[in-house]
Symmetry: C2
Subunit: 445 residues, 2 copies
Amino acid sequence: MAEPLPDLIEEFVTDSMGDDPAVILTALSSQDTVYIASLLESLPVERRLIIWEGVPRDKKLSVLVEMRSDPREILIDATAHHEWASIFSDIDAEDLLELLDSLPTKLVDLAYQTLDSQERKYFREATQFPDSQVGHWVNHELLVLPANAKVREGLRLLRRELPQHCDSIYLVNRSGQFSALVKVNKLFAAQEHTSLVQLAEESAAILDATEEVSTASLQVQRSGLSALPVVDENSKLIGRLDITSASELINEFYERQVMASAGMDEDEDLFSPVAKSARNRALWLGINLLTAFLASWFIGLFEATLQQVVALAVLMPVVASMGGIAGSQTLTLIVRGLALGQVTSANMRALMVKELKVGGVNGVIWALVIGVVAYFWFTDVLLGVVICLAILFNIVAAALAGVFVPVILDKLKIDPALSGSVILTTVTDIVGFVAFLGLGSLFLL
Amino acid sequence: MAEPLPDLIEEFVTDSMGDDPAVILTALSSQDTVYIASLLESLPVERRLIIWEGVPRDKKLSVLVEMRSDPREILIDATAHHEWASIFSDIDAEDLLELLDSLPTKLVDLAYQTLDSQERKYFREATQFPDSQVGHWVNHELLVLPANAKVREGLRLLRRELPQHCDSIYLVNRSGQFSALVKVNKLFAAQEHTSLVQLAEESAAILDATEEVSTASLQVQRSGLSALPVVDENSKLIGRLDITSASELINEFYERQVMASAGMDEDEDLFSPVAKSARNRALWLGINLLTAFLASWFIGLFEATLQQVVALAVLMPVVASMGGIAGSQTLTLIVRGLALGQVTSANMRALMVKELKVGGVNGVIWALVIGVVAYFWFTDVLLGVVICLAILFNIVAAALAGVFVPVILDKLKIDPALSGSVILTTVTDIVGFVAFLGLGSLFLL
């Protein structure tokens, strides 16, 4: 049984274990590669390299495959050249595809030479599809029989060593086109001479190789089958997407969304080298700086007003942040809806109306609350009225932006989970400051 | 084959389909319940209720089970009382558990009466565990044999109608305690009189009923098996967690994280009634308002300074937002690490050091950039120095807060994905404003 990850980290993070590869090897040899991968990701780079030395040679490939690319690349760089031949000794097309972006070209070539001709063919086929398409991720361990096969042949097939998650036999015609799917367990109760076609599932989904990975993965997850067949544009069966791959691809999809909201990607290493991490994050800080200066520039237009009514400066953050929060609630809901395919041009209008109403209700309530607080704080009725109107205006504008920003980004094929919140807060900051300071200039000077 | 969801939405969102339940019924009868559920979630409430009327009676239960609770509750409220007997006619313990929080007590009772005594027992057992524990979500469709059974008996078992995702037979001793797991496909190549125990997997994981749902689900996903056995505190086999449930539970976990970042939950309805939605979101706006007023109060301490150096008011948002962005990057990384079990007390210190270094590097770079821009904008060297120091200070403080806030929340058993960002931005706002205005008061007056 695998130890829980935190205990494992505790054991390896300090050097109580020592730096002796032999000791580490013994300690790791009983561990699952998934846990070793996660352990390595959790260690500071120096320790990570020491522990990596001690990972059993025959586990190194699977450990690399299980890791995120950023931490993985650090290990790849640190691995001695002469080790690769043995690490790659068991590699197949799927492993190489998984490692493709992390390996230098030389090592890709070396690994490719190790593949047999069948695996090379799979590899070449898969690389014809971008990694956003299901064709890139197909698994080739299939149970396939000709369309006219009988139960007897099916049972004979099952006596071999079966691949993981094989609950179906796929039937193909003479040109290799997919024709039907038969659940394995239908065979046990059937007569030996029955045609497999008679046992076929009628409504099983078939995936196109060009289908988007996240949609296809959800289909597998919902199918109740362990895998769905994948066909090319000529209906030729090229492989299957199994439920383990599907689940991992869905996890990645969600993780990308979570990380994107802070301008990072899902491969970000917990312990990436400082220079690399600083560089990765600098872009996002730079973009944010431009939008912040833009907001400042708008505030600058009202310098004269601010000088006379300093209370406006004090209350500015309230106006901006209420708009930002209200807008990000709408944005988050719409981004999820877009990701699930539930937001379309058909229901956009109704969504807009509903979000405007919600914004209106919350706008009125919080505008009044804030107006009253501001009045008591600065004993100035007009200031209360000004902030009240500015808040109402900004929350309603936030609802509009919360719907339009992600929908427009999606239309432009820009990931709304990544850039949506920056654009949205820029809008709500500027609208908030201009409304508040503009109304202030009108009423308070 | 199911139509893609957007087309389906397009077809049903307008009343081109008419309001005739019979027409809708015909159109929906070929659709998968997963798609019907997603379609209903995508429709404005009025249309949703009309289409719900037309959903084939025998699909209504599965459609409800597939839906998120908020949109589901709207349909439950709108369903005529006399319909429930037929909707519940096929209900089992798992369905009822899924609907439990959405059904009024009366309907829970009605559904419970429909269960046979075995299902009632399952239901009662499951409700002993909170829905955060795997015991709440077990599936009872198992292939079980006594520990001394032979391959012959295993094969006989397989001839029955098999449940979904059954790739293993579980062996139990006389007191019902789990003893071993045998992969079904091992049976085909084995002799009829071989003991099943001899074919058992050695390293298959066993789940405790009290284990946390997301950890257990990841274990299932990584096991390469279609399900893992679940045992109670006496090692008695009480069921299994299959890969479909595991994947759905992981999806929910991620979706909760995404929605939590905007103070919403994963059951939020795209088209919830305005009053309900406004109420749900008001709490988050209210909490945010308190933190915004707190920040304003700190700014208010420097009113005299602001009056004299209005440029400080203009540049305030830049200082606050750079700290907020830098902090949220660290926060997002740490929250993911906590969720994956990769951040522990053992590697906290090293993480802290690394984040401080990254903060230091980006702090210095952006402090200089912003200082220079501010100098040229306001032609004031001291102002440039003041904002430079304030940015540096705030970005470093943001790194500290980005690590400590989620770790402390996690220790306090508060979901850092939910409250982390509010607390973090409160910290970076206040630190930023105080540093900037405080330094401004020292140097610029």
